[in-house]
């Protein structure tokens, strides 16, 4: 499950409340039906927080062992290190790890207690491409074992790759809660552009399902959820077009349009 939102949306606050690290000003949070501060609830959760640190002078193995010891049924240290892909660094001190390796160390610490649910707050921030790939692989491996993972991110792409369910929030408000496919279909999916042999006007598109239409002399740009049907209709009308391009709208754009929709709802 991914908690998706732009900076300042309230993702970290939400996780902090769920973990009992912050008190909710209204309403209540429950973990496994218990207070989030309850030890029994915490024994079943692993956590990776933003900007949290560990003593620089302990080695990867020592830290994983240590965090495992906080839990009643830890997973074998080797397995936690393996899941994080840190075997080559297991004897290195934490202070000597690169940024991406450090993040993977925090992942190892989060899974060390063999939890049922893991909370990741912006896990891939500051990771290089290779580290990020390894890390996303670790998350997939872990979820295959039937574990629940809740991660926050501001990359829709990341949420799309990993999550079965995406919750979009913005400025503390719920914007959407659906599968990645649904989230994507709810937003304008394709950008269509072409050059028409005869000048077109906006009136020509009045009956068609398009948005963000811009006509610059012969050049037409628009967004459509059903570009195939749109083009079929244009051809049927005998519009002669050239230089056709159909591209998937950027996921970031999709995300922006989604939060804007919510904003309009709020202002209405």
């Amino acid at each position: 499950m991914a908690l998706l939102g732009p900076n300042g949306a309230g993702k970290t606050t939400c996780i902090s409340v769920l973990l009992g690290l912050r008190k909710a000003t209204a309403g209540e949070a429950r973990l496994f039906g218990l207070e989030p501060t309850d030890r029994r609830a915490r024994s079943r959760c692993g956590v990776m927080l933003q900007e949290s640190g560990v003593p620089d002078t302990l080695t990867v193995r020592e830290l994983v062992e240590l965090f495992g010891s906080y839990y009643p049924h830890p997973m074998p240290t080797e397995r936690a290190i393996g899941l994080a892909g840190l075997e080559p660094q297991s004897k290195q001190q934490a202070g000597k790890l690169s940024g991406g390796q450090r993040q993977r160390l925090y992942f190892a610490l989060a899974v060390a207690g063999d939890p049922e649910v893991i909370f990741f707050d912006e896990p891939t921030v500051g990771m290089d491409v290779e580290s990020r790939r390894l890390f996303l692989q670790s998350i997939r491996d872990f979820s295959k074992q039937g574990k629940t993972i809740l991660l926050t991110t501001h990359y829709l792409e990341e949420a799309d790759q990993l999550a079965e369910r995406i919750i979009v929030i913005d400025r503390g408000l719920l914007v959407a809660d659906a599968s990645p496919r649904e989230i994507k279909s709810r937003v304008v999916a394709k950008q269509v552009s072409f050059t028409a042999s005869t000048p077109l006007t906006e009136a020509d598109f009045a009956q068609l399902a398009v948005s963000n239409l811009t006509i610059d002399d012969h050049r037409v740009r628009l967004f459509s959820n059903a570009p195939e049907a749109l083009l079929r209709e244009l051809f049927r009308r005998g519009v002669d077009i050239s230089d056709l391009q159909v591209v998937g709208a950027d996921l970031e754009e999709a995300f922006i349009s989604l939060t804007h929709q919510a904003e309009e709802k709020v202002t209405q």
Binding site: L19, G20, L21, R22, K23, R39, R42, S43, C45, V47, L49, E51, S52, G53, V54, P55, T57, L58, E62, L63, E65, L66, F67, S69, Y70, Y71, P72, Q93, L109, G113, F119
Partner: protein, 245 residues
């Protein structure tokens, strides 16, 4: 587990190890070389006084710096936040931390003892060493309180400076660095209230150079512990409120 981790993490930090283990040994050797041959009292060499004084300084040192700088660093890098989200109860973490520091203090004492015996040629019999050890461990609680108060009350950058500014003058004012009788009487009065003064009294008893009885010294130290731990709890709550509300 938690104790061992805290202990190992500190031991591998060269700045901390040198400060806690090296300084008392260095000071001892320096002052022993200058004043060691004098008589502190009939039948007691100054070397013994210097040894016991720097043993006291050393153990207090471990406590003030270990907790002062260590806790401030843990807070600075948000280790406390990460640990808070695990099932480890904060009380267990704190107790583990104290045990780790006591072991470290013992290490500092053993090192100083070895250096004093082998290089300094200062002999204390085994009974005196044991007597000194329990006194220094039990009497170190105000130093733990002071360290924790500094650790929860200051940032990682401010903690070392604050620890020095508070702890070092206390040592000067209570007769550990300079014999109290050589200081002006006003300062003697101030000094005789400080926890370090009573800590030193507790330790000097082992070589018969104390001015107050063990019970009086322990009572003072217990009082200071209550004051400093109360301050620690207050600062801890403030810190928690800032972080978790």
């Amino acid at each position: 587990m938690e104790t061992r981790a805290k202990f190992v993490a500190r031991l591998r930090n060269p700045a901390f190890t040198v400060l806690s283990l090296g300084l008392p040994v260095m000071f001892f050797l320096l002052f022993d070389a200058i004043f060691g041959s004098l008589q502190a009292a009939p039948g007691v060499s100054t070397a013994k006084l210097i040894l016991v004084s720097y043993a006291t300084y050393g153990v207090g040192n471990v406590m003030v710096y270990n907790f002062g700088i260590g806790l401030a660093n843990d807070r600075g890098r948000k280790l406390d936040l990460l640990q808070r989200a695990t099932p480890l109860p904060p009380v267990v973490a704190t107790v583990a931390y104290v045990i780790g520091a006591l072991i470290f203090a013992l290490l500092s004492l053993i090192l100083l003892g070895l250096v004093a015996t082998v290089i300094g040629g200062v002999r204390l019999d085994a009974g005196t060493w044991l007597d000194l050890t329990w006194r220094l461990m039990l009497g170190s609680f105000p130093a733990i309180g002071l360290g924790m108060a500094i650790g929860y009350g200051s940032s990682p950058n401010a903690a070392p400076a604050l620890a020095n500014m508070v702890y070092l003058p206390m040592l000067f004012l209570s007769g550990i660095f300079v014999p109290l009788r050589q200081l002006p009487s006003t300062i003697q009065h101030i000094g005789s209230v400080l926890p370090t003064y009573h800590y030193a009294q507790l330790a000097w008893k082992t070589i018969g150079l104390n001015d107050e009885s063990t019970l009086v010294a322990l009572a003072w130290l217990a009082g200071w512990s209550i004051v400093l731990f109360a301050l620690t709890i207050r600062l801890y709550r403030l810190d928690q409120d800032k972080k978790f509300s």
